[in-house]
């Protein structure tokens, strides 16, 4: 990297507004994290799309692979009790 002057890739996550979590919006190149944060501001929030930014070097992200998908995500598929719509409640009960 340093020999040729190529800048590493960073993934960018933006919190759209207070109360929301950071969402992946894309990537960019920067020499280091400090500049990546600034570049991300200019690139991904120039229409006031965010209140907070994370940048993460793309190389340090560990991702699940599609082949592992069945063992990773399918077990959750039968745990319907995790979803609020699983529970029947009388219609006139508020704030549930």
């Amino acid at each position: 990297m340093s020999g040729t002057g190529e800048w590493p890739l960073f993934e960018v996550f933006v919190r759209g507004k207070r109360g929301l979590s950071h969402t992946h919006v894309g990537s960019l190149h920067a020499p280091d994290a400090t500049m990546a944060l600034r570049n991300a501001r200019d690139l991904y929030t120039r229409r006031q799309e965010g209140v907070s930014i994370w940048v993460v070097p793309s190389g340090v992200i560990t991702a699940s692979s599609p082949e592992e998908r069945d063992s990773f995500f399918d077990p959750a598929g039968d745990k319907v009790y995790r979803h609020p719509t699983f529970y029947e409640v009388p219609e006139d009960v508020e704030y549930l």
């Binding site: 990297m1 190529e6 800048w7 960019l28 991702a63 599609p66 082949e67």
Partner: protein, 337 residues
């Protein structure tokens, strides 16, 4: 695969890759699901996407030049601000698209190197010069209009990162076309000289804009046949959603009434409404000019590429310095820890 072991670096190295592609990829495409970066996919699908996203990104970056030309000469401060924001948006769109391409394992620097070496193309429309201020209007109205027509279907492209980049781009692009129309609207209602300037720009940009949809899908010549099979494959993969000629017709149908509103003439004597087809008929496109400009014989091909190369080369020492600084400080950080 055993999660604790390191798998093949490239999924294509596995023996049953073809079968995985067949079942996994084919199944997703059939179900109109999005393909994501780590999915198994046919090599040709990947190559087509990388090439298309790269060309698209290059077009945004090279496309900054014809309009960037007019930033320092914009005729009002309001126009200057709008134009700066627009050219800056194009840089941003280029970056979104390079970012999408990089999810397939290519590096932006590789793609730029190919652009600089003339090995990857960009939209041929940017090989035409912007001779007057009205050209900025014509580019916004016609060129961006045609680009949007091409791009909106890409928001539903089968490759997730490309589709997401396009959603972002299309959202931002809508202001580009409107500002172009507004420029021409103002000129057409201005002084005689301004009106002439507007008409002259439309005369020069109309036909190249129609060429932006690519050669006909009819396959009536060698190039056409290649286009036809390419279009077919891209449509089967969900990369392309409409044929070139369909999009071109849609663009003409949309633009003719707008030109009438502007009070400007589209330079085509054969333009007339067809009751039978329910579309506007238009004249023969000079495909010889298209292939000629694409092949390098356009007024600005050499200039655009030289400008881009120069910026890249003049920036080399800056990029190297920043990388060296980062390396030094990372090393110091580790030393301290």
């Amino acid at each position: 695969m055993d999660g604790s072991q390191v798998g093949p670096l490239n999924a294509a190295e596995t023996e049953d890759y073809a079968q995985v592609v067949e079942e996994h990829f084919g199944g997703l495409i059939d179900a109109d699901q999005r393909i994501e970066p780590r999915d198994a996919m046919p090599a040709a699908y990947r190559d087509t996407l990388v090439r298309q996203m790269a060309q698209h990104a290059h077009s945004e970056i090279i496309g900054m030049q014809p309009e960037g030309n007019w930033i320092t000469r914009a005729p009002s401060l309001r126009r200057k601000a709008i134009l700066m924001a627009k050219v800056q948006d194009e840089a941003g769109h280029g970056l979104y698209l390079y970012s999408a391409a990089e999810t397939l394992g290519v590096d932006r620097s590789e793609l730029l190197a190919k652009l600089h070496a003339g090995k990857q193309k960009y939209s041929s429309i940017f090989n035409y010069p912007t001779l007057t201020w009205a050209d900025v209007g014509a580019i916004g109205w016609l060129v961006d209009g045609a680009a949007i027509m091409n791009q909106v279907p890409l928001c539903r492209c089968s490759y997730g990162p490309y589709a997401r980049a396009m959603v972002r781009i299309c959202k931002e692009e809508s202001f580009h076309q409107r500002q172009g129309f507004e420029i021409l609207w103002t000129l057409a209602r201005g002084t005689e000289a301004q009106r002439e300037m507007a008409q002259d720009a439309v005369d020069r940009w109309w036909w190249p804009s129609l060429m932006m949809f690519g050669p006909p899908d009819t396959g009536e010549n060698v190039n056409g046949a290649a286009t036809q099979s390419h279009t077919k494959q891209s449509m089967a993969w969900g990369i392309k959603r409409f044929a070139n000629d369909d999009l071109r017709q849609k663009f003409v149908d949309m633009t003719v009434p707008q030109a009438e509103k502007l009070g400007l003439t589209l330079p085509d004597p054969d333009l007339r409404w067809s009751e039978e087809r329910g579309h506007w008929d238009f004249g023969e496109i000079d495909w010889e000019e298209f292939w000629r400009v694409l092949g390098g014989d356009g007024p600005c091909n050499a200039q655009r590429l030289a400008h881009r190369r120069q910026a890249h080369e003049e920036g080399a020492w800056v990029r190297e310095a920043a990388a060296a600084y980062a390396a030094k400080h990372a090393a110091r950080g580790q030393g301290a820890a």
